[in-house]
Assembly symmetry: C2
Homo-oligomer: 543 residues x 2
């Protein structure tokens, strides 16, 4: 082990945690680390712009439990400030590795290229949007620092920042370092008391319901949650951010709950429940249908990774995992929920010839098209709101930035998702506005032999905003999206105006598995999904 370097140690730890791909753009301060990644069989996925790498790594983290973006100092790092903020807000464990000027180059504070104000400017920025951060300035402490920071990523499911000065990549580590496991469990007394109280409440309830969200995905608790639901025979709803937390064909699955934004029967069922078990729920405005949700906390058991609240009191030091595991083993009564809502089944789509495609019909068609071997990735806007009603077959087959809502997520996320799980083909739903931000990352898909099906909801502008306040700034230039294969030298493009064309394009796309397919679906600028109609009505009151 004598010749183990700081760079080696970092890579070996990431590999031990299941990471096989690193997303980024090279630059001189990180070039030696890139060479090391290459030699250690870590696959470098070079995106067009760092922003694409950030979104791709976020999706990879959501699917695989950890993602890595690796960039150069400031001009690379600051381009992923926004994607890192998204990962922070929506709890996605992304490791940002940034090269930087060597420690020996920093004497006398010279004006080295890419430096902004001080050498630690980038660090200070990332401290605001990560759970832990470090500069590997000293080989003596580098291993401990790497352990500490990666541990925080796994524990809090938040992004972390590791800066590696270029002269530290090959610096030899100290010997005999042992990777520590800092994971902390629950306080057993608090856990026991909480379980007793929760079980009594659930058993006394006439009509309990589970509302599950994103933390169930992040902590990999989907199967355990399902066991709980099945044992006690309790229906499950999910939030929009948590969508696909269970396979949506499951007999206990109700649908997406999102206050007045969602389907009325789901809203009524959840809000009329006398015991709501909120599992890993983020109380965000979007999840709560812009605060149209009426969840009475006096009837709620609210478990998150940060705290557990039953009615109006709180237990500290009870982890989400332990609490859920405890419930699964507890003496829960089996309920008889009687009749309850289910998602609309996916019915066969019969194209109505030359009828223009509407948002509603597009999603009906996609619902029929979806298979168990696809992962749906929705960008912000009606791509996301409309997708709430898609029937997702297996858990964690739906990704959407439904809280942070940063446009431009979906196309690069499709790249991260397919690399994270090559058995799933990405179905990317994206508005034309969001596509113009990051859609050219299809180039990255071509480069790495990926095959997303990209559906551009082309309404020639920012449709969500049109619903709130009309203005010329909501219109954008029309692109011939379906002709992008001619620019990129690969892929298949389809111009879709009618239902017939939509149907045919999807059939062709399904068969064309060698490369990406892009459907330019032309829609009326003022068309919208029912969910968007309800949402924008709410939002426009707050302008």
């Amino acid at each position: 082990m004598n010749d183990l370097t700081v760079g080696d140690y970092l890579i070996s730890r990431l590999q031990a945690l299941g990471v096989r791909h690193v997303f980024g753009v090279p630059g001189d301060y990180v070039l030696s680390f890139y060479a090391l990644l290459q030699s250690r069989e870590m696959r470098i996925v070079n995106t067009c712009d760092e922003q694409g790498a950030g979104f791709a790594a976020d999706a990879y983290a959501r699917m695989r439990g950890l993602g890595v973006v690796c960039v150069t100092y400031c001009v690379g790092g600051l381009k992923v400030a926004n994607t890192t903020a998204e990962a922070f807000a929506e709890k996605s464990p992304v490791v940002i590795i940034s090269g930087s000027p060597g420690m020996k180059e920093r004497d006398k504070n010279p004006l080295l290229h890419h430096k902004v104000r001080d050498f630690d400017t980038q660090l200070k920025i990332f401290e605001q949007i990560t759970a832990a951060s470090t500069v590997l300035a000293d080989a003596q402490t580098a291993q401990k620092e790497i352990d500490r920071v990666l541990d925080a990523a796994l524990r809090f499911k938040r992004p972390v920042y590791i800066e590696i000065p270029r002269d530290m990549v090959a610096a030899p580590c100290i010997l005999h370092h042992r990777t520590a496991d800092h994971r902390t469990g629950s306080d057993p007394d608090a856990l026991q008391e909480a379980l007793t109280e929760a079980v009594a409440m659930m058993n006394a309830a006439r009509k309990p319901v589970i509302l599950a969200d994103v933390e169930v995905h992040r902590f990999g608790l989907q199967e355990m949650l399902l066991r709980l639901a099945e044992r006690a025979n309790i229906p499950i709803a999910s939030t929009i951010l948590g969508k696909s937390v269970v396979g949506e064909e499951h007999s206990l699955y109700l649908g997406v709950y999102e206050g007045a934004m969602g389907r009325e029967e789901v809203r009524r069922y959840v809000e009329e429940s006398d015991c709501v078990l909120l599992m890993g729920v983020f109380m965000t405005d979007v999840n709560l249908g812009i605060y149209t949700a009426r969840l009475e906390l006096g009837r709620a058991i609210y478990a998150t990774s940060e705290k557990l609240t039953i009615r109006f009191h709180t237990y500290e030091n009870v982890t989400l995992q332990d609490f859920l595991a405890g419930l699964v083993e507890a003496p829960l009564l089996r309920h008889e929920p009687g009749e309850f809502p289910h998602p609309e089944p996916a019915v066969e789509f019969t194209a109505q010839g030359t009828r223009n495609v509407t948002v509603r019909r597009l999603f009906q068609c996609l619902n029929a098209f979806l298979t168990r071997d696809m992962v749906v990735i929705a960008d912000v806007g009606d791509a996301l709101f409309g997708a709430a009603d898609l029937l997702i077959r297996r858990h964690t087959e739906f990704l959407g930035p439904a809280y942070y809502t940063s446009m431009g997520f979906a196309v690069p996320a499709g790249i991260g998702a397919q690399l994270a799980n090559p058995e799933l083909r990405p179905l990317v739903l994206v508005g034309d506005g969001a596509f113009q931000m990051t859609g050219m990352e299809l180039s990255t898909a071509v480069r790495y032999g990926l095959s997303p099906i990209v559906v551009v909801l082309n309404n020639r502008g920012y449709g969500t905003e049109r619903q709130m306040q009309e203005g010329p700034y909501n219109d954008i230039l029309n692109w011939n999206y379906h002709r992008l294969p001619e620019i990129l030298g690969a892929g298949r493009g389809f111009l879709v105006e009618t239902e017939e064309q939509l149907d045919q394009a999807l059939i062709s796309a399904e068969r064309h598995t060698e490369s990406f397919c892009i459907l330019d679906v032309q829609m009326d600028p003022m068309d919208r999904s029912p969910a968007l109609e309800r949402l924008t009505e709410r939002l426009s009151k707050r302008l």
Copy 2:
């Protein structure tokens, strides 16, 4: 004045400072401010992605003295963290205006969409990369805050941050506010002593020389500097970051000085001088040819906006403007510099038929093509290094991020530059790697009727890095750049492999003034300019 609102005041101050365009992407937290901009005849330039808006506003600021980017909260703001850092590093006064959740929405710290950690997370980030920042949380203080922050932008020529909560846009201002002018002059005694010393040193010198940099541009001192040079008959060199600080056909102009990276005769002349007048120079690694420059401070008068240093002592409170103005009026002797170097004249380019285009020949051809009615914008890499030898006819007709060196600057900067001065046609020089980051902002050029000529130096990868360390991560996918007009529905594209084709394409581009033109100039992957050859030799020693 009774119905003047906070939003009105901000817009009227910007207009008074010469701003006519605002670059950005709308979003719900900034939508009401967008509507106000629209109604106040401020032209909104909606780019594809916020990154493009950031670079465009930076270029606009460099040309016009102030630029504005206006975005929504976090998902918009954090996308311009990098472009703001560039503006900070290279002293460009860009105002970042960000909408944000209304003050009344913030009670109980709810999870509103786009929020990362706390409501002030974005503010804290921008504090790191701006000269001043404010949240307009109170109508009583908003005008003073706006004045303070805009004043800092003008004084320090750095970016500033103004956050406007959406419920403050229409909040009424207080009456009787008077816009204060905080500009501070020099300490007259210090100024007098410094001038006396500098004049004595210059008059005693046998072979004085002026080296001028970016601050001369930023403070609009180009004409004054020229008067100084002409009065004392002293030759002028510029740095690469400061290039075009004087019209380069001027008889006193030496060329670009950049240590061992630059032309040998310029290096020798500057370094052999017995009195170097450094005017607004940034001592950056790139400006100094990666520290191959040998400028003896014992013979230097070093004036910047922050301090004035003569030999090894420093004067505080002497502004660059006052010092330069004082020198122009001072009893300076007229020197007889004798023979000194001049830039290579632009000679007619005779295309050698089917010969492939090399980097060297490309720049010779562009040199012949350039006119007084063009502004050259160079992206990072050989686009920038090769451009050092282009002969720029008038001052401030060259823009390049030659210190911060963030890739992706040039195409959006071309948009900002042409809007800042519609009489100049942008000639945008960009590598294929940088083009893939932001090149689709050509869409914005189409939308606003702009006509840049974009030359893609297509060597199928990151050429600068190939020179430092070869690896597959330096190769990128080839795009058919010349076919982008088919995607965007406007513009003209040219595939250029030979000198003949280059010549013909430039002739056509010059004539086609209705829209953008793009030249896909195919180059050998290992070809490079002589400057890049010298630079990468230096850089690769530090990996």
